[in-house]
């Protein structure tokens, strides 16, 4: 068995979700190869070669693979994938965009967002917004799988010494072109990788009031998230959204401030180790899953909390 892991990378570095995906591959067992596709990705390939447990790194360095356009990257992965027992990618927006296209090209069903490996062909994944867990078995020749990063502890980024091999294949479908991108800037830890997450909901009332959460987050070294209600109301940008349709997080500590706890939000954070809810409505559903609940006005409780931690 040999497993191909599609590396997620940005700004010339391997994204953390790749390390969780390699961890899932290690649980399946067998040799692990990592594919780095992009433009000017020599540095990424070198750091991918250092990931613990990786046997070989394949590099497809071509202008066609810049910005990870799925029309160009998917045929490359499908072509390489034929020689592997499993093709894995992190369930990031890139992974979700590319991998189903790969699966269709290979004519196999895909298994999305696995959270556990039962055996080499059997996996667990959440369905119905995390309200049920399905155990799925695949008899496909090539098993195509996306991995939910929070389901697996990351492998070490250092310690490996894999060989790096260039892949010549260049696919340019000519169906799509990159026009531009607008990235939200943040000095705080990345939401999906943070040990502590402080999230605000509709109860924050406006975007300006998020400054209370930023102050608390900076003191805790935490990332700041938001519920869909806060994003839809325009308080904060949508890349801060935690939930079924946003980011899935599982930090050590999740502090939900002014969030009622709709199913869609819980699907994104209920695997956090410790959940704290601060809400003035003592009937809010969030209290049913919170380890520690505080019924209080957030505009008094949050500044006080910031002073005491």
């Amino acid at each position: 068995m040999t497993i191909l892991v599609i590396a997620e990378h940005e700004n010339g570095a391997v994204a953390p979700a790749t390390l969780n995906t390699v961890a899932a591959a290690a649980k399946i067992g067998g040799d692990i190869h990592v594919l780095v596709a992009g433009q000017n990705v020599g540095g990424v390939a070198e750091s991918a070669a250092k990931i613990a447990g990786v046997g070989k790194v394949l590099v497809a360095d071509n202008a066609a693979y810049a910005h990870q356009l799925p029309e160009n990257v998917a045929p490359l992965v499908a072509e390489l994938g034929k020689g592997y027992s499993h093709v894995l990618a992190p369930a990031t927006s890139n992974g979700k965009n590319i991998l189903p296209r790969v699966a269709a090209l290979l004519d196999v069903d895909q298994i999305s967002e696995i959270i556990a490996v039962e055996s080499a062909d059997t996996f667990k994944r959440p369905i119905y917004a995390g309200n049920a867990i399905a155990t799925v078995q695949s008899n496909a020749a090539v098993k195509v799988i996306t991995v939910r990063a929070t389901g697996f502890d990351a492998v070490a980024a250092e310690g490996g010494s894999a060989a790096v091999e260039a892949v010549a294949a260049a696919h340019d479908a000519g169906k799509s072109a990159f026009v531009g991108e607008e990235l939200a800037k943040s000095d705080r830890p990345e939401l999906t990788a943070a040990k502590i997450v402080v999230s605000g909901g509709r109860g924050m009332q406006n975007g300006d009031n998020f400054k209370h959460l930023y102050a608390l987050a900076d003191k805790l070294g935490a990332a700041v998230g938001a519920s869909r209600a806060a994003v839809d109301a325009g308080f904060v940008p949508n890349d801060m959204q935690v939930g079924q349709t946003g980011k899935i997080v599982a930090p050590q500590l999740y502090i939900a401030v002014g969030i009622s706890g709709a199913i869609q939000h819980l699907a994104g954070m209920k695997d956090s180790k410790v959940i704290v809810a601060i809400n003035k409505d003592e009937e809010a559903p969030i209290f049913q899953i919170a380890d520690y609940g505080l019924v209080a006005d957030l505009f008094e409780a949050v500044p006080e909390l910031e002073k005491l931690v």
């Binding site: 356009l69 927006s93 296209r101 069903d109 999305s112 026009v179 959940i275 505080l294």
Partner: protein
Amino acid sequence: MKILVAVKRVVDYNVKVRVKADNSGVDLANVKMSMNPFCEIAVEEAVRLKEKGVATEIVVVSIGPSTAQEQLRTALALGADRAILVESAEDLTSLAVAKLLKAVVDKEQPQLVILGKQAIDSDNNQTGQMLAALSGYGQGTFASKVEVSGDSVSVTREIDGGAQTVSLKLPAIVTTDLRLNEPRYASLPNIMKAKKKPLEVLTPDALGVSTASTNKTLKVEAPAARSAGIKVKSVAELVEKLKNEAKVI
């Protein structure tokens, strides 16, 4: 141009689902069903493109049991012109659905196909991408903005770090994200009119598509329940608990 919109009948998003005692699946008997929320957004976007004069005809398609006709009628009431139901009682995988949609695309030759980014039952997020691969079209997934100009479509996509814009050659596949638009409600007169709009029923056999799957669901379980927490009286008590009991700060 002609737009094809795919819609799915799913359990209503407000329903708290229960896992069956024999772990064979989720109990859907006597549960309220609705159109998948992302599919509503797809229908709305198609209707808006028609209102702008970009689209001339909207064909809405669903693949599933005969009861999915209800969701197709809803889409017709929202502004779609005609409907196609590919009737199948089986639980189909995303790949099987994508193959059936490909057959409908071949038949109808739309310039744009709009789907939701994922269905809230299976949470797969695969069908649009798979349909794009099978038909060889470009894909604009997780769209928050769609602009058609000439023979291309510009799609602004929601990505992990923010937003990305790509330009796709038509025909193309677009999957909707939540922020693309706010779907309208069907008015009573439109619901009445929708009953008279054409609805064609096909079968996978008639389309010559095999729906065999390489995946098998062995069991479905309820997730591990969290143990009940406690309510603290003050911020000071909360900080004390987090430091000394939970040891997370």
